[in-house]
Symmetry: D2
Subunit: 350 residues, 4 copies
């Protein structure tokens, strides 16, 4: 069967590069168009991009020509690695023109009619597309994936909320350098240092999870009713956001029940065997000193949420540590998995 | 006036090296004896120690002979950089023999009759020495300084507790490599990584602050009545423990009141102009991205507690970030300041 | 066909772990025995080893019992990850008892009757085994692979020596932390630093290449007739030894000829399609800033020698930079490729 | 006596910041003017600069207003931290107008009538100013300091050339991140990596030392007659360029003679007791593993050339390692010492 042709918006940046890397050899999707700024339009991808990933640039894209971001695309599915703000207008135009846009940008994430999707967490939120189309008159649609820091904690909260309810979350992140893009954080700042601040990050982390964990009522999300307080820090790690969580539950739960909820978690992408779905959405580590970003970020090919150090908290109920690969599951891989879910559910056709 | 002769126990380790570095040229104290393991006894300090600090080994100690840790000392003041467990017996023997032992080890910290001292926080706890002597029949005494991670947060909590009361503290540390001593953390573990676990650290951080912030009633400490929950992490930073705190207060306080309490804090060591006291015990940074370990750890010659990012917390009342130099204020420098306070108060004579 | 059963000596260390990682799923060899110190003998591998690699411990070895290093082995092929000195006696005993020992240790490397082997460089040196057996009365044999730093430069020198002769080599290494084993270099030394010294390394790098590049005359190696001067440095990189070389040739050669010699290099392991042979033994990079350790060390699954920045040298003839993965091609992978060559040539039978 | 008023061109960049840091409290010079780009002109220094050094911004400059780089200055002495190319026109205009410009830029370094000065190496080259003024009709002058990587090796070569002559130098650098300015090298490139290339660096390192070590004949420099071949690498170190050198001498010299030449070196800045001169220009380390960038870069307050690992070279005569602080001695500090020499010799008046 012919593969579905896809475009990548903002293909030369670091998230764009991850899309290209992850889509290389994809069983369902085939990269057919790449867009970039006016400056790079017309160049080959090899000329236009400064490839920074640690695997070689896939041969299939080397000689593809970069299109302007305003070019008309003829691919049914579009992955957007555009920066916030730039994304808004371009993605809307494509959705108007009938494209399904799986976007990593933050512009539409919190809009009431736009799914903020993690297939293991809230696959039913795709129903919001009907509302979106009706309200906006679009024949296409925009589906977003969350902030890279919010992703793994939200996955880990899913079974806890299901089983025990969640009331409070105190969250402290230690985020990787790649989260700032390229060139991103200067090495003169990052070396042998921690920067206890990431502009604009804490508000996203404090509000996106509740939307994803919310119930869909009449096509609208009722956000999950708990409060998050976040401290976000940048640490000298290349990839992988480590997050310390203290969690207050609604109902009492023993440590065994909590561990069981985490390790027994099963979800739709695994059931559907989506190509990018990790074998286990949540991987529970039992060693006292795991997960570690460098050693565990590639769990499930970078698509799993890894959790460890689950233990009682003297203030709330439980403490634990999560790890997610920020540019795979937390960015490009998350968008791709969203598209795979839509494809598997017949919402995309070639 | 002749300087007071002091000994350093465990002088060849990293904390011992810091004692030597910080006591070089000290106006009141003069290093007169160094102890080490049986293996190094008899060697010169230059032979026995693998000097790892970034300033040169002081000339005054190069040719001093290492004494066995069991040797009789004739210095009234003894600084202990011994590892926990080793410290217990040796320090007790010295206190019995009339020495004042300022110890960085954890063995006696939580004993009911042993001061756990930060001169800016609880100078009056030195009164416990009378109880200690009476109960143990010692002519000397043991005075301890807290865990390196607990130090800066406790200093910052002092004015908050004074002004508003403290009810709850959620604490997440990002601790420097030097905290593990030498050789300490293998570079193969620490490079481009975070280790979300430090053996034995969280319990100390969760109980030492309340003792220091407690009131002295009839010679005994009534611990401050609040709960701490700690997550401790190791990050690839050489020196300086950065700590994210969420703090619940007993009484409502505006952000301005909190900032004022922090920046107006005055304490005894500054009033007494103790030689190692930083000009300001608490230094408040107003930039959004400070304190940073590498850039701010030497504030007040490594003796200040730096605090920044003070802002409301959605769960508790306020969030902030503290930084303290772990091997200066959090170890050797803390012990020296304790001794300076005792000296200034006439508790030590040459 | 049944796989050949192999043992790994010193299986719990970092090189031992690489052997286990690389042999997992090997098409010809199957790990059947693991040895360790007296202390770990009898434990399972999961109990005995502190696994430090970034991929999970293979399931096949988790429950294997560690044997004492003095145990009698019944595997025809033995891989040795023993430290130098320990290796000497144990490897000799196994060779006496009829085992083929592919050793990563340095003890026998420079012995006149022991092959120091890189299959792309000097496969014919395996003929030395006949001499070895005759002289030592062994029914087995010892075959060694070179020092990790010497490996990639020697591979790159092979075609240059063939085509133009080599007269002089000035070599400056920037070596990865993993080369020091585990725990190896303390993070307190390695962070934000370079250590311009590695004990015992420079002599090995200065004499091993000439043996490998030498001609075999009557079963004995006549070392290649050129001089190497080496400076060895440790840099804060996890894996991958980067080496700057200035090379004086015997015959004039144009830059084009040099580049052609490097990129046209073909060798026996590729011809024989040995399982661990990289598609190309030497990979030539043309970008001005490659190879880089982190980005290029996994070229050819960590088995290729990567070379770049080939340009004229004002003092000797050409300058270039080589990169080799020090614990794959430079250690365990090198030994395995040596065994594969012997297997393919019928020198090993199950 | 009133201090000499000085201006700093390009004051907001990293080299500009070093000038400000090093001139704070200077006994002879007082910062009276700061220039920056059109964009920052009119702002206070605190507003205009993103201070990146690890010591606080000196209070004296916080509220100074940035002048446009085209502004007329009324300070007799001007320090230039301008980038190459920008520097050319501006520095010439200031020299025409009678200012002494001590420049860190590369534009004029190799001009036949411009001193390329290290006060310990070639103080007599200041005589070239007479030629410069005559040829260019300037009433002021431009005096340059060398490339940061060339500085320490040139200082170390001075006594060797004096005593034994120098014929050949093979040089491999491991350069700090700060050498690339700010933001400079992205952390995503620099972390756990080495970049074996620095644009434009090798030619400078290969030709500047000979000019500095050349003799002045009739007001013109006859470059020292030896060849340098350089490999330049970027390593994840914040400050301090480490350089491996292999040196061929003109006359035979024993190791003792070489060590004596290095340790007995005395030079004019030390004799004149220039404020920024290190106590010893060349500091010889005898430990096998020194100098190390992090531990030794502050030798002589960052103004000394540190040398170690002096040993025979199998190819040339001797091998050794040098270290110099690249943004102190190799940039701002070097310029300041040049100005101090001119001041001490009466070439500058307030």
């Amino acid at each position: 069967m012919a593969k579905l042709k896809v475009a990548i918006l903002g293909a030369t940046g670091t998230v764009g590069q991850r899309f290209i890397q992850l889509l290389d050899g994809h069983p369902w999707f085939e990269v057919a168009a790449l867009t970039g700024s006016e400056r790079t339009a017309g160049q080959t991808y090899a000329e236009a991009s400064r490839w920074v990933l640690d695997t070689p640039m896939p041969a299939a894209v080397r000689d593809m020509r970069i299109m302007s971001e305003d070019a008309a695309l003829d691919t049914p599915l579009v992955f957007s690695a555009l920066p916030s703000k730039t994304a808004g207008v371009i993605e809307a135009r494509l959705a108007t023109a009938g494209h399904i846009v799986c976007s990593n940008a933050s512009d539409y994430r919190m809009d009431a009619d736009v799914p903020l999707l993690i297939p293991e967490v809230n696959p039913e939120h795709l129903e919001m597309i009907a509302v979106q189309r009706k309200q906006r008159g679009w024949s296409g649609a925009i589906v977003t994936n969350p902030n890279c820091t919010a992703t793994a904690p939200t996955m880990v909260l899913r079974p806890l909320l299901n089983a025990f309810g969640v009331e409070k979350v105190l969250l402290v992140s230690m985020q990787a350098l790649s989260g700032a893009g390229y060139p991103g954080v200067p090495s003169y700042d990052a070396t042998e240092n921690v920067i206890p601040y990431i502009g604009g990050e804490e508000p996203k982390v404090e509000e996106e999870p509740q939307k994803m964990l919310g119930d869909l009522v009449d096509g609208r999300v009722v956000p999950a009713n708990f409060t998050i307080s976040a401290h976000c820090n940048r640490v000298p790690v290349l990839e992988g956001h480590l997050v310390c969580l203290s969690i207050g539950l609604q109902r009492k739960a023993s440590l065994e029940e909590v561990l069981a909820a985490l390790s027994n978690f099963r979800a739709l992408p695994q059931e559907l065997q989506l190509p990018s779905a990790p074998p286990q959405a949540i991987v529970l580590r039992e060693e006292p000193d795991r997960p570690q970003p460098r050693r565990d970020r590639m769990t499930g090919a970078g698509m799993a949420a890894v959790v460890g150090r689950v233990r009682p908290c003297a203030l709330l109920d439980y403490k634990l540590v999560t790890l997610g690969h920020n540019t795979i599951r937390g960015a490009a891989g998350g968008s791709i998995l969203n598209a795979e879910l839509m494809y598997a559910q017949g919402m995309l056709q070639s």
